[in-house]
Symmetry: C2
């Protein structure tokens, strides 16, 4: 019976998600103009996803056959390929459902805003909850099925690898898409032509709104799906090193408790203040989960160590979230110091943002190190994996608050484009402002969970590798290992160079297209109409083309290094995790702080909109965009993916060792 | 006799430096206006140094007494404190001499430019050579004396620590000084008032020129003095693990051969093309050194392994230099791609620069990893230390080409300020342009040598620690060690946040002062005169105040971590070296490339001076300034200093282990 609890809780999550989806779809999508815009965004998003899935399918099929091939020549179980396919499918499914609902919820949120912020919040949050529940539900169902049927942990790595593959493309491709559209729309529309954000005359405006969904909903969902399943898989694998009762079932059980806690806590998300509502939901879920987990541990294991390890991760996640909020919120000193620096120009604005971003790495790193050491003291490597699960336990609701952001953002855009009047716009913008804060916290949380998951995977890899190959010399002074650390630490820099460069290239095409349309169609003179679809196509094509190189790198490098020297690979994973964690926090928080420094000025401080400081802050914001939405989030995937690739291909490395 | 060879070659270097200094001083310093300007720069530089030395003296005295105290309660030899004092004094002496000569050579270079580029080159290079030869001469003499008298390697760490302390303050304080003056002068003078660079009406112009000397001459000299002595010390220490004849003398011998090779190769630095001349000198020295080292190894050791290890480091240094040149030169694609991105604005210029900077980390990291693995294969840890010496062997001449840059820069400034006419200005600017390239290469070289020296120190530390404490668990999966890697990797980010923030704060004061002078003294209206001295004082005060926090951090953190857990400290050093190396390369090369992208546009491309692209590129250049001249170089010191502090305080950690 206990065995089936994960499956049951997963099913409950899915049923809940379906009910919420029905609730959303039943709501009115507003007047014709609103439906039209919402439909354009939906169409653009689906177009991108379909095009993306074509490329992903090719990749997935190639890997699938390579895995089958590998199972003939190495000790890789043949079921790994099946698990890989399922993992990819489940991740894609969760992202697809989440994004379809999000693009349906935007107009409905704007419409509901007519009857007040309470109702609008409910719809926007519910659409986020669909995504959150699909991710945790499908995640736990997938793992449970493979684990219950085959009872072999190696096969589970295939499931994680499948999830990682989707996440890779969703984060990298989606990240490039969203920012090339955003920069294209802003540089020409806002800066050159001086028309407001979300002005329907801007040809790139639909692509920009599509981008919010593609990047922040589908990308974020796939990213956290990966963290979620990877952390559970590594805990199950490492269960063999401890002697607790139910050690290998425990990770699935506490994950299930987290799902139930998340669903219960969703009741708290209501009221007139969206920030308080979301916060109550998040903290409520954490507290309920902690109580559930304590009771379960007390009756089942009778040793509190694994519970403590889990708790440590949960607290680490909260600390990272709060630290992220401090360093990026426009109501705090860091972002305001950037705004102040903008008074002496764009250069000082950017330098201060870099300084803030770098400083913001201290708390997440220190907190995660302490969490790791404590979790290890409680339950060795297994404890570290449990800490990762603890951090992700309430993912059902925390992902809901993340995905709420882009829906609110789109709703504000639709209210603007459809000319819904001052009051409704104010309501949707109030929702959007909170969405920015939760999105920033969500980014910090995604990075933190990626880092601790990557650590758990690293321990899993060393543990497995020593079983397969025999003792490995992993002293720090082993030169191959040390070289691995250096090369690994370099990869996030290389990866970010490629993704930032990719946004630049794709945005360049978009800028030229928007300029061309303004000029040739005489849009601003009121003569021609903007061709939204062309911009959507250009962003789609650019993103898909530019994502190939960095994505391939993330898969190929660990395999090559692993074939060369297993010690070097172990170093590589550690170095990449450390440097990727740091760089991701730096890029995400600097980007968030630049963004909010601009918003701080726009709120009327330091001269307000149109002032010298504002112009400088806009430059900072534009620099920050690909940092926080493309390069930063892509690093989450890089560090996890390299670890899971290493785990899957371990039998191959064993041949060469 | 062989024992005395290092002392003799050191003495030769000093004698040569004195002769060159006399040669420079005998030259005419030009007309009254030139002497006046040169004198103002000299006075500003000396003022800064004197103020800086006051603070350093307090620091040095405190540490001196702490070391004496420690020698009573731990196993620290009492002579360490003496060596510490000497190291600090020698480093300060070299920097002081080098900078005094450099500030005398600037006007003389400008004057010599009247009789052509050949003579001007000779003076500017000679002044650099004074610095180069003082550094290697005093470095090798200091180590030799302590080693010959006490024959105890632990004492040598004190010498290295002394050198590191001066380097810390010179790099951090000097870096903050130079960039706050530069940004202050540029933002108000060039951007706001539209007067040219080096315009004598700009109140911050002298401070700006002082800054070039303070940062690029004194700072660079102290940085490389530290690398030089640290690499030799670690090789001597690690000699005990190999069985070659003369193993502990060999490092001193090859360093001596490098000095002789550098002096000989200085003959090649002449001709009408300064770039070719400097390059001939650098490569000539490398080849001569390789031949000398081969012959010596052949007759003395009869085993080529240590020679190969040395050679590997020499080649690594050359590769890093060339890669740096490629990624920063205005004649190459990377910098030009930034210039092109400037056509769509400052934000895209900055993003492209970040991308280029990140990409530029690949070759230096890969090359250094290969060098480390090879050197280790040849002669274990000892080989890695030899590789560091190999890279630094021709420091006498390579530092000369580095320090040539700021002299040429100052000469161009003096030619402009004294109104020396078109032709002379063109000559000095031609010298300056080459100086920019060599300065960029020099920065890459300084970073690379810092990284490989830090690696050698890390191996030395582990080696010594195991002798003192007994076996230490340094498996990568040891959680304290892994946490150490993460915290260590974070420190360069924290350090850079502080130094970049410091420049911002100091520059802010400078901007306000320059604005005030323009307004109150009515300088541009031709009524009042600028008050240079006030600007020099503000830059000095700002830099000295802001350097305290980051500097203290670099000393205190490793001591605290070492007292807590020796495993964590070992991880810390490795993590800091990897991340510091990467971040330093990224910051230095992004900064260099932004600078040269601007110069590329100023040379008449993409619209030339005053165009939209040029304005955008100026923003990029300003962002890059503190990256390449403050934060980046300071990281060199951080990674070496933390290692040497750990080595010195090892007896203290042993008490707590």
């Amino acid at each position: 019976m206990l065995n089936l609890f994960p499956l049951i809780s997963g099913a409950i999550a899915i049923i809940f998600a379906i009910l919420l989806a029905i609730y959303i779809i039943k709501k009115s999508p507003g007047n014709e103009r609103m439906r039209e815009i919402s439909h354009a965004i939906q169409k653009g998003a689906v177009t991108f996803l379909n095009e993306e899935y074509k490329i992903i399918s090719i990749f997935v099929l190639i890997v699938f056959f390579l895995l089958i091939l590998a199972s003939f020549y190495t000790d890789l179980p043949w079921q790994t390929s099946l698990a890989f396919l399922t993992g990819a499918f489940f991740s894609g499914l969760a992202g697809n459902i989440g994004m379809r609902i999000a693009t349906k919820a935007n107009a409905r949120t704007a419409e509901a805003a007519k009857s007040g912020i309470k109702k609008a919040l409910l719809i926007a949050f519910s659409s986020g909850a669909v995504m959150g529940l699909c991710v945790v539900g499908l995640g736990i169902i997938g793992i449970s099925i493979f684990y219950l049927i085959f009872e072999e942990t190696s096969i589970l790595f295939g499931f994680g690898f499948g999830a990682s593959s989707i996440a890779l493309f969703a984060r990298v491709g989606g990240g490039i898409y969203t920012k090339s559209a955003d920069i294209g729309a802003d540089l020409v529309g806002k800066v050159e032509e001086g028309i407001p954000e979300d002005d329907p005359r801007n040809p790139a405006v639909i692509a920009d709104n599509v981008g919010d969904n593609v990047g922040d909903v589908a990308g974020m969902g796939a990213d956290l799906f990966e963290s979620y399943v990877d952390s559970i898989i590594s805990a199950i694998t490492l269960a063999s090193i401890v002697a607790y009762a139910y050690a290998s079932l425990y990770p699935l059980l506490i994950a299930s408790l987290g799902i139930i806690a998340s669903i219960i806590a969703m009741i708290f998300v209501r009221g007139k203040n969206p920030y308080t509502a979301l916060r109550n939901g998040l903290f409520g879920a954490a507290i309920i989960f902690a109580i559930f987990a304590f009771i379960t541990t007390h009756y089942l294991i009778k040793d509190y160590s694994p519970f403590y390890a889990t708790l440590v991760g949960l607290i680490d996640g909260i600390i990272i979230g709060l630290a992220t909020e401090y360093f990026t919120s426009e109501q705090r000193k860091p972002a305001q110091s950037i705004a102040k620096a903008a008074e002496t120009g764009a250069a000082t604005d950017i330098l201060q943002g870099m300084s803030v971003g770098m400083l913001s790495t201290v708390i997440p790193i220190a907190s995660t190190c302490i969490a790791m050491v404590l979790a290890f003291e409680f339950a060795s490597f297994y404890g570290v994996a449990l800490a990762a699960i603890g951090m992700l336990s309430t993912l059902g609701i925390s992902l809901a608050t993340d995905c709420y952001g882009p829906v609110a953002d789109n709703a504000a855009g639709i209210a603007e484009m459809a000319g819904l009047g001052e009051e409704i716009r104010r309501t949707t913008e109030a929702l959007d402002a909170v969405g920015n804060t939760t999105a920033a916290m969500g980014k910090g949380f995604a990075i933190g969970s990626a880092a601790i998951t990557a650590l758990a995977l690293l321990f899993t890899f060393v543990n497995k590798a020593e079983k397969v190959i025999g003792e490995i010399k992993i002293e720090l002074t082993q030169p191959h290992l040390l070289a691995g650390i250096f090369i690994g630490a370099m990869l996030p820099f290389l990866f970010s160079a490629l993704t930032i460069g990719a946004v630049g290239k794709a945005a360049y095409k978009m800028v030229n297209e928007v300029r061309r349309q303004f000029k040739e169609y005489k849009i601003l003179e009121g003569i021609g109409k903007p061709d939204y679809e062309r911009c959507v196509k250009i962003a789609t094509k650019g993103a898909l083309k530019e994502m190939i190189l960095p994505s391939s790198l993330a898969v190929i490098v660990p395999i090559l290094i692993g074939i060369w020297k297993i010690e070097a690979l172990i170093g590589l994973l550690a170095g990449a995790t450390a440097s990727g964690f740091l760089l991701a926090v730096f890029l995400a928080n600097a980007g968030g702080a630049w963004d909010n420094a601009k918003k701080f000025i726009e709120a009327g401080h330091l001269g307000g909109k149109g002032s010298f400081a504002h112009k400088a802050a806009v430059v900072g914001d534009t620099v920050g965009d690909p940092c926080k939405d493309t390069a930063g989030p892509s690093l989450n995937i890089l560090i996890k993916l390299m670890s899971i690739v290493s785990l899957v291909f371990l039998p191959l490395f064993a041949k060469f060792a």
